[in-house]
C-alpha cells in the first residue's frame, strides 16, 4: 500500500465500503452518522453500512419534511435532517460540575469528559462550516469551553459532498457549499453510474490518510475529479432557496422598525425549534440543582433559546417580551451582529430553521421582504 498524502484521490468501491467502518472501529473511533429513525434521517451511533439510510432521500419545504424511497441504493442520497452534529460536541443537557459540602467549606468536582473519539461520517459542506462557526464561539476566544474542546479535538470529519440540494438549502448563497473546501479529514463523493456504485475519496489530513491505510482502494481514473465536480455542480444548481447577502449587516440593523417584523411576529410561535435545529445557535442556561438537604449541588447546562422569555429575564421580568423582539433578535444576530461578534455570518445556509419551523417561517423570505422599501406611513393629509 502506498502512503497517502493530503490531496490524494482514490476510489473505494461500494462493496468495499464496510471496510471503512472496520478501519474506523479498529482505530478506536465510534462512528456516528446518518440513520433512519421515526420518519427522518438523524445522526446516531452506527455499527455498519446497514445502519445508513440506504436508498432513502428526503423532501423538504417550509414546515414540512418527508422521507421518500430513491430509485437507487445511494448511501448518502439525502440532504440534512433535524439534528446537526452540534448534539455530539455540545450536548443538549450536560452536567458541568458537582459541589459537595466539606465541613464549613465545599469541594467542586468537575465533570470528566470521556468517551471514545468520534468519527462523523457524512458531514455536508454546510455542516463543516457550522462546526467551524461553533469552534469560534467555544474555542476561538481567550475562554475555551473545556468540554467542547476536549470532544472537538478528537473528532474525525468524513465529509460527503452533496449530489443534490434540498428544498430549503441555500449554501451557495452563504458560500459554504455544496463542494467541500476545507476542514475535513476525508472528502467523499458518491458516484452512481448505471450498475457501478463507488466513492471517490480525497485525503484531507494525515489522520484521514491513516484511516485509509487499511481500506482497499483503487487508483482514481483521470476523469474522476471532473465527475466529482459535476456532481457538486448539479447540487449547486438545485438549491431550493437563495439569500441575497449583499449589505445584509446594515440592511437588517438599519431596519429595526420595518413593518415586516410585525407580520412575521404574528406567525412566529416562539417555540424555539429554529434555534434548536440550527447548527450554530449556542445559547444555554446554567442552573444549580441542589438536593433537598443542600449537601450536594450539581451545575447543569441546557440548550436555551432567544425565543424563550427566560433568556432575558432580569429581576423577574423579561427584557424581550414580545414575539417581535425575539424573532428580530434571532434574525439580526444570526445574519448581522454575528459578524461583529465572531467575524463570520451565523448562518451557513443549511435550511433547517425553514424546514423545522412548525409554521414554515423562512428567513430568506423575511430578508427579501425587509429589502423592499416599506410604504411611507400614511399622513393625516393623505388619509382624508
Amino acid at each position: 500500500m502506498d502512503t497517502l498524502k493530503v490531496g490524494d484521490r482514490r476510489v473505494l468501491e461500494r462493496h468495499d465500503f464496510p471496510s471503512l467502518f472496520r478501519a474506523l472501529q479498529a482505530k478506536g473511533y465510534q462512528v456516528v452518522g446518518p440513520t433512519v429513525r421515526d420518519g427522518a434521517i438523524v445522526y446516531d451511533q452506527l455499527s455498519g453500512v446497514d445502519d445508513l439510510p440506504v436508498g432513502w432521500t428526503d423532501r423538504q419545504e417550509a414546515g414540512k419534511y418527508r422521507l421518500e424511497r430513491r430509485k437507487d441504493e445511494a448511501l448518502f442520497g439525502y440532504t440534512v435532517g433535524p439534528f446537526s452534529w452540534k448534539k455530539f460536541l455540545y450536548p443538549s443537557h450536560e452536567r458541568l460540575w458537582t459541589a459537595s459540602r466539606d465541613g464549613p467549606s465545599f469541594v467542586i468536582t468537575p465533570e470528566p469528559v470521556d468517551g471514545p473519539p468520534l468519527a462523523f461520517l457524512g458531514m455536508r459542506a454546510c455542516e463543516l462550516a457550522g462546526v467551524s462557526v461553533q469552534d469560534r464561539v467555544f474555542m476561538g476566544g481567550p475562554y475555551v469551553d473545556p468540554g467542547y474542546a476536549a470532544r472537538r479535538r478528537k473528532v474525525l470529519r468524513i465529509a460527503v459532498q452533496c449530489g443534490q440540494a434540498g428544498g430549503t438549502c441555500f449554501c451557495v448563497s452563504m458560500g459554504t457549499g455544496p463542494g467541500v473546501q476545507e476542514g475535513a479529514d476525508l472528502i467523499v463523493t458518491e458516484v452512481l453510474e448505471g450498475k457501478r456504485h463507488y466513492f471517490l475519496v480525497q485525503v484531507g489530513s494525515s489522520e484521514g490518510a491513516a484511516v485509509l491505510s487499511d481500506v482497499p482502494l483503487k487508483a482514481a481514473a483521470p476523469d474522476d475529479p471532473a465527475k466529482a465536480d459535476a456532481i457538486v455542480s448539479r447540487a449547486a444548481a438545485s438549491m431550493g432557496r437563495a439569500l441575497d447577502t449583499d449589505g445584509i449587516h446594515d440592511l437588517l440593523l438599519k431596519n429595526l422598525e420595518h413593518p415586516r417584523w410585525e407580520i412575521v411576529a404574528r406567525r412566529c410561535l416562539s417555540c424555539t425549534n429554529c434555534t434548536m435545529v440550527c447548527p450554530t445557535c449556542f445559547c444555554s442556561n446554567q442552573e444549580e440543582v441542589p438536593d433537598l438537604a443542600v449537601e450536594k449541588v450539581e451545575r447543569w447546562r441546557r440548550w436555551d433559546s432567544c425565543f424563550n422569555l427566560g433568556l432575558t429575564e432580569m429581576h423577574g421580568q423579561a427584557v424581550r417580551k414580545t414575539n417581535l423582539s425575539r424573532y428580530r433578535q434571532w434574525l439580526t444576530h444570526k445574519l448581522a451582529s454575528w459578524h461583529d461578534q465572531f467575524g463570520t455570518s451565523g448562518c451557513v445556509g443549511c435550511g433547517r430553521c425553514i424546514t423545522w419551523c412548525p409554521v414554515g417561517i423562512d428567513l430568506t423570505e423575511e430578508v427579501a421582504a425587509i429589502r423592499t422599501v416599506p410604504p411611507a406611513p400614511a399622513t393625516s393629509e393623505g388619509k382624508k
Binding site: D38, S92, L292, N323, P358
Partner: protein, 264 residues
C-alpha cells in the same frame, strides 16, 4: 439546645382525581428526604394524622366546583404562608372545567337520579380565581422532577427554576423527530409549557397540552397551521378543550374555533 422547627407542609384536595397527590408519594427515593425536611401537617392521601395549621407551605390539588370549596380555599389560604397549586385542575380548572362551556342544570338532570342532592357551582375554576397563589405547578399530572424542584426552592428560600418555555424545546433536547413537521401530526407542543419532558411526541403522538399554555402562546398561528394539516374547526376546538380548557389562552383558542365553525 432546641432543634429549629421544621417547616410544616399541608396537602389539600379539591375537585380532582388525586393523581397529583400520588405524584408526591411517587417520589419514592426522595420521600425520606422530604419527610426529613418538613413536618407533614395534613396529607390525607398519605396519612390520617393531622397537625393543625398554620402551614409554611400548602400544596393544593383540584379545582373549585362547590360553594363549600370556595369557602374552604379561603380558610386554607389564611392558614398558609405559601400556597402552591399542583396540577391542571388547581391551576386551570381541570377537565371538569368542560362544564363551563355547557349547561350544568341539564347535565345534572340527565346524569343523576336525584339531581336535587347535587350541590355544584356552574363552573370549575382555578384556585387562583379565588385566592392569591404563590406558584403554579402545571401538568396532568404534575411532574415529579418539577415538584421536587419547587419543594427544594421553597425550603431554600429561592425562586423555583421551572421555565415557561415550550414543549418543542424538550423534544429537541431529547432528540425527538418533530411529529408535526415530519409526519403531519397535529401537536399542541408549540403553545404548551414544557415540564413533561415531551413524552407524547417521543411516542409519535402530538402533544395534548397537559401543561397548559407556555409563556407566550401564539394559538392563532398554530390554529392556522392545524387547519393546513387538515383539521376542521370542531377538531381544533376539541384539541384545546381538555385538561386546560379553561386556561385563558386555550379557552380563547377553542372559542375562536367555535366561532369559526358557526360562521357561514
Amino acid at each position: 439546645m432546641t432543634e429549629a422547627r421544621k417547616p410544616r407542609l399541608g396537602v389539600f384536595k379539591f375537585a380532582s382525581c388525586d393523581g397529583c397527590q400520588l405524584s408526591i408519594l411517587d417520589c419514592e427515593d426522595e420521600l425520606l428526604a422530604i419527610t426529613g425536611a418538613v413536618d407533614i401537617g395534613d396529607f390525607r392521601e398519605a396519612s390520617s394524622a393531622v397537625l393543625e395549621g398554620p402551614y409554611d407551605l400548602s400544596l393544593v390539588e383540584g379545582s373549585v366546583t362547590t360553594a363549600h370549596d370556595a369557602q374552604r380555599i379561603k380558610e386554607i389560604r389564611a392558614q398558609s404562608k405559601a400556597l402552591v397549586t399542583i396540577g391542571a385542575c388547581a391551576t386551570a380548572g381541570g377537565i371538569q372545567a368542560l362544564k363551563n362551556f355547557g349547561n350544568v342544570d341539564e347535565y345534572r338532570r340527565v346524569v343523576y337520579a336525584r339531581p336535587e342532592y347535587i350541590e355544584s357551582l356552574a363552573t370549575s375554576t382555578a384556585i387562583a380565581d379565588h385566592v392569591p397563589v404563590d406558584f403554579e405547578l402545571r401538568g396532568c399530572p404534575i411532574s415529579k422532577v418539577q415538584l421536587l424542584e419547587a419543594l427544594s426552592a421553597f425550603l431554600q428560600g429561592r425562586a423555583p427554576n421551572l421555565p415557561n418555555e415550550s414543549v418543542c424545546i424538550e423534544c429537541k433536547r431529547r432528540g425527538t423527530v418533530c411529529v408535526l413537521v415530519a409526519h403531519g401530526t397535529p401537536c399542541l407542543g408549540p403553545v404548551t409549557q414544557a415540564g413533561c419532558g415531551a413524552i407524547c411526541p417521543a411516542f409519535n403522538r402530538g402533544c395534548y397540552g397537559c401543561f397548559g399554555p407556555q409563556g407566550t402562546p401564539n394559538t392563532a398561528s398554530l390554529t392556522a397551521e392545524l387547519k393546513t394539516l387538515g383539521m376542521a374547526p370542531p377538531a381544533v376546538q376539541r384539541l384545546f378543550r381538555t385538561f386546560n380548557a379553561n386556561a385563558p389562552a386555550f379557552k380563547a383558542a377553542s372559542e375562536a374555533a367555535v366561532a369559526e365553525a358557526k360562521a357561514p
